[in-house]
């Protein structure tokens, strides 16, 4: 009698366990609704579980993929349609313990984007987060959550196309105004009086300001486009400095700020994207001029450190108030004293410079004290992926 009772209890427990497992399976299958695909793999990368969204997104049925290698079932391609090899896939790095989670690699705000190949060989853009499954401190598998970002990509492309077209449409009338005024300055269409020239000077300056704003907007768009090509070219520091100083000369003259450039290390040759380097140093120098007082000086310099080349631009101007320093790289942010001295700025410059530096694997830092001045540094590693190789000119 007792034995029978035990069996009944046992049966009940088995049934309950079965129901619990089925319930968990049902919950797992429904996770992510029809949007977020979830796939669990064992420590070898073989699929243990997938949810419904996985089946819908990839076109594979659950029974076809269980116990198969995830990387073989869903191949990954980069933006240029190159197949990503197993050892390069984050999944293999998560399983080997070299990466804890993809969010650590990419940062929460910007997950990596790539393409996954469906069963029918079509592809879709996706983004994913992969985390290891830990049991008693050991990696026993991984969970990957991914979703289709076709819509986001389309919207992003529309935004880029719109802004690009809008900027182009703005540039055309601005270039017209610029060229017509320059033609009037030449007096080939008639003499202009001194007073008229003053008016033209004002219109010309306003127009140049607008051109700069549109140009900055376009630079930002270019930087936000992941496909921007980074060039690697040999640049002599001497010609780089000459170019940057010539560009800044007019503004420096107007603000009565003396530009200085010590001769040390000018024979250096570096290998990186020259336009990007010029933009960053040009931005530093333009800030140094704008936020100095007449009669002061700005110094452009370079030095070699262990493993890096460090450019610097120093001024003795208004500086940045201590409590505002952490915000100066934010887009549109301008320090309070900067706004007072030059109300027309829009706070693009340092934000762009920082994005540009990241593109070439460099870092920007600064030291500043209010009313004493600032020094901005651009540190370019000698042998980083996008960085520089530095050598002395023979």
């Amino acid at each position: 009698m007792k034995k029978v009772k035990k069996t009944k209890k046992g049966e009940e427990r088995i049934t309950k366990l079965g129901e619990t497992i089925a319930e968990q399976e049902a919950i797992f299958a429904s996770v992510g609704d029809h949007i977020m695909a979830v796939v669990v793999v064992d420590k070898n990368g073989k699929i243990i579980r997938v949810n419904k969204a996985f089946e819908m997104l990839t076109g594979w049925e659950r029974k076809e993929v269980i116990d198969k290698f995830l990387v073989a079932v869903v191949p990954r391609e980069d933006e240029n349609r190159n197949r990503v090899l197993f050892k390069e896939r984050i999944l293999s790095r998560v399983l080997s313990g070299t990466v804890l989670t993809t969010t650590v690699v990419a940062g929460i705000e910007k997950l990596p984007t790539f393409y996954y190949i469906r069963k029918n060989k079509s592809r879709f853009p996706a983004t994913s987060v992969i985390s290891p499954v830990l049991f008693k401190g050991k990696i026993v598998g991984a969970v990957e959550v991914f979703y289709d970002i076709t819509k986001e990509k389309e919207l992003e492309q529309m935004r880029m196309d719109f802004l690009s077209l809008a900027s182009h449409q703005l540039r055309t009338p601005l270039s017209g105004t610029k060229w017509l005024i320059e033609t009037m300055y030449r007096e080939i269409v008639g003499k202009i009086t001194k007073k008229q020239k003053e008016y033209l000077d004002n219109i010309y300056k306003i127009n140049e300001r607008m051109i700069r704003i549109v140009s900055d907007m376009l630079s930002m768009l270019r930087l936000e486009n992941e496909k921007t090509l980074i060039k690697k070219e040999k640049i002599s520091v001497s010609s780089l400095f000459k170019n940057v100083l010539v560009t800044a000369a007019a503004a420096a003259k107007e603000r009565k700020v003396a530009l200085q450039c010590p001769l040390n290390h000018r024979m250096l040759i570096i290998e990186t994207d020259s336009e990007i380097l010029k933009s960053i140093l040009g931005n530093f120098l333009s800030n140094a001029i704008d936020y100095s007082m007449p009669g002061q000086k700005a110094i452009l310099d370079v030095k070699e450190e262990s493993g890096a080349v460090v450019f610097s631009v120093r001024d003795f101007g208004i500086g940045i108030p201590k409590k505002e320093q952490k915000r100066i790289f934010e887009r549109f942010y301008r320090a309070s004293n900067a706004k007072n001295l030059k109300p027309t700025g829009i706070g693009f410059g340092l934000n762009i410079a920082k994005m540009l530096a990241e593109k070439i694997g460099a870092e920007i830092s600064f030291k500043s004290e209010e009313d004493k001045g600032s020094i901005f540094y651009l540190r370019i590693p000698k042998r980083s992926g996008g960085g520089v190789k530095a050598r002395k000119k023979n």
């Binding site: 690009s164 182009h168 540039r171 055309t172 009338p173 601005l174 270039s175 017209g176 610029k178 060229w179 017509l180 320059e182 033609t183 030449r186 080939i188 269409v189 051109i211 549109v214 140009s215 376009l218 270019r222 921007t228 090509l229």
Partner: protein
């Protein structure tokens, strides 16, 4: 007297270019779209072409292609003047055979005129790349 063809759809830009070129002693012809440009080159071969990219009907790439595939025209220097500053566009124009590329709003008109003089007066022209 050297002859320059301005291919541009905006009247105010045409005016600025034309006035400066005439002041330098060149003769000038105007085309306001790509098809008209090809037609004008066929009628009177210019010594140099100033070429916009975005134009109604046929664009600047069409003109560039027509110039470079024609054995009688392919040596005509072509300076692209466009407000499109994207790397891909500039690269495409240069690969198709454009001799120089200026993003209009970024350069004084005098710089463009000096470049024209470099080509037409046989001065050694350092290629301009944006």
């Amino acid at each position: 007297m050297n002859h320059v063809l301005i291919v541009e759809d905006e009247d105010f830009l045409i005016r600025a270019l034309e006035d400066n070129l005439v002041a330098e002693g060149y003769t000038v012809d105007i085309a306001k779209n790509g098809a008209e440009a090809v037609e004008k080159i066929g009628k009177k071969k210019p010594d140099l072409v100033l070429l916009d990219i975005l134009m109604p009907q046929k664009d600047g790439f069409f003109v560039l292609e027509e110039i470079k595939k024609n054995p009688e025209w392919k040596l005509i220097p072509v300076i692209v003047l466009s407000n499109l500053g994207e790397d891909t566009i500039i690269k495409r124009a240069l690969e198709m055979g454009a001799d120089d590329y200026f993003v209009k709003s970024q350069h004084p008109i005098q710089e463009v005129i000096e470049k024209v003089k470099d080509y037409l007066e046989g001065r050694k022209a350092a290629k301009h790349r944006p």
